[in-house]
Symmetry: C2
Subunit: 133 residues, 2 copies
């Protein structure tokens, strides 16, 4: 086996890439139901889990949602900036900052394995001095 799973993963990855903002697991399932009316949460979660393990998809812990990695190299941890107005998320790379973070935490003997760094706020397009339509 394995074949069908990879197809599903690609399908989900494309779906997330095509979307401007992040999608919840159930959003993804809703989209998939268009072609696979009987797909179950477990199946979707398994695929999302595989994708996040691969680094092709990021999970937004503070939103319970998922987005496609915006970079070509999927072997990195990201800093995600989330606009609370329009919902768009930008991915920022800052290995040095994450290293500094690990160093700081490591001083007390803690061994970091995974960083969750998400910054909420308003993006340039939604920022102050801009009025809603």
């Amino acid at each position: 086996m394995g074949k069908r799973g990879e197809i599903l993963q690609s399908e989900i990855f494309d779906l997330l890439r095509a979307n401007a903002g992040p999608l919840s697991a159930y959003d993804v399932m809703g989209e998939l139901r268009a072609t696979k009316p009987k797909i179950a949460p477990t199946t979707v979660y398994r695929a999302l889990s595989a994708l996040t393990d691969q680094g092709r998809v990021h999970r937004l812990e503070s939103l319970n949602a998922y987005m496609a990695c915006q970079c070509d190299d999927h072997q990195h941890e990201s800093i995600l900036s989330i606009c609370d107005d329009c919902g768009t998320v930008e991915e920022n790379l800052a290995p040095d900052l994450l290293a500094k973070l690990s160093g700081l935490i490591g001083q007390s003997g803690f061994a970091p394995s995974r960083h969750v760094v998400e910054v909420h706020g308003t993006c340039a397009d939604c920022g102050p001095g801009r009025k809603p339509t």
Copy 2:
């Protein structure tokens, strides 16, 4: 009104303080049911929300759980290190690092309002070179 709410908040705060690790909202509700058998989720969430607004309680986004702030001054954002083995969470203050983070993100015109920084790993007590009991 307002009085009964503040009492409940203190009760929850004490409960969280007494606990070594973070508690989920429903954990908290379970404890509260000992004295208030009919307390509802909404009530608990409202109190937790007030407490987090005050900075007396931190929400762990990656665990869907809550913990009492370990510092006396509750007017700060924290970096939380979470041991995936034993579940204990340490609070680290690093205003300079958060400022650097804001600066980085701000370069693209993004205006940060809230930082979520959670580091998973293993704490000094659970780290490598230590075998389970």
